[in-house]
């Protein structure tokens, strides 16, 4: 049995940003990042000992999962300690200029998630 639960975050309007992003990826990249998500499901925060999971500065329990397209695919995940699950907020291809915007978007989604819990 998987050690952790994995959830795609669903906004109040039903939109699932990570699902929308995964659907736009080519099959190979999608397989790569989904294998990383499954690894997170099995090993959780142990991935911090590798380069596969990186904490996001200034925001506790928010992480960047790295994989696919030679590490260009990123998924922002939140570890919900109370429910022992990872919530996938959004995904993006790493580009220096866009990264901060994507992380800010994930922070907004995290606020939305916490206020609707």
């Amino acid at each position: 049995m998987a050690a952790y639960e994995i959830d795609y975050y669903a906004r109040p309007n039903g939109d699932q940003p990570t699902v929308n992003w995964l659907d736009k990826l080519d099959k190979r990249s999608r397989a790569g990042i989904m294998a990383k998500i499954q690894c997170l499901e099995e090993h959780g925060l142990q991935l911090l000992g590798t380069k596969m999971l990186k904490p996001i500065k200034g925001q506790s329990n928010l992480y960047e999962l790295v994989g696919g397209l030679r590490g260009q695919c990123r998924v922002i995940v939140y570890y919900d300690k109370g429910d022992n699950k990872f919530v996938l907020f959004n995904g993006f291809l790493k580009r220096r200029r866009r990264e901060a915007g994507q992380i800010n978007e994930a922070r907004d989604l995290l606020n939305e998630y916490c206020s609707n819990k």
């Binding site: 049995m1 998987a2 994995i6 959830d7 795609y8 669903a10 039903g14 699932q16 699902v19 995964l22 099959k27 190979r28 999608r30 397989a31 790569g32 989904m34 294998a35 990383k36 998500i37 499954q38 690894c39 499901e41 099995e42 090993h43 142990q46 991935l47 000992g49 590798t50 380069k51 596969m52 790295v66 994989g67 696919g68 030679r70 590490g71 996938l88």
Partner: protein, 140 residues
């Protein structure tokens, strides 16, 4: 209705091309974790290990990120440097199932035997060799 990761993954894994790529990445991820743990237990830095192997530290970092594609021989060499050797087992692509696969005789037929163990049940599955996708359930 909201989609789930589990549901999406099970659907995607029915596509052989997806499953093969997924399996390749999963193998690299598993080795990345194994190496990172083994190195920490041995109190060995990436730089120390790289020096002992006469390879670059950045290659060790790539291995621990699941980004490198080492040969089986190289994996053996890296682990031996840490006083370890490789042990392999095949498990299901889906994480809540475990498959123990062995080749055996079943009546007159040469078959592959699979034992799937999930939370609630154990199932023996037999498949004629070389037709692995055509399963016959023989016991629940």
């Amino acid at each position: 209705m909201n989609r789930t990761f589990k549901g999406d993954l099970e659907r995607e894994l029915t596509d052989l091309e997806f499953a093969q790529e997924f399996g390749a990445v999963a193998a690299k991820n598993d080795f990345a974790l194994t190496l990172a743990r083994a190195r920490r237990i041995a109190s060995c830095t990436q730089t120390d290990l790289a020096r002992r192997l006469e390879i670059s530290q950045s290659y060790i970092a790539k291995l621990e990120a699941g980004d490198a594609n080492p040969t089986i021989g190289r994996i053996g060499k890296i682990l031996a440097t840490l006083g370890l050797r490789l042990s392999t087992r095949a498990v299901s692509l889906v994480s809540n199932l475990q498959a123990n696969i062995e080749s055996r005789k079943f009546g007159e037929a040469d078959v592959l035997s699979y034992r799937w163990a999930s939370e609630n049940s154990e199932v023996d599955v037999f498949s004629p060799k070389n037709t692995v996708r055509d399963f016959t359930l023989v016991k629940v």
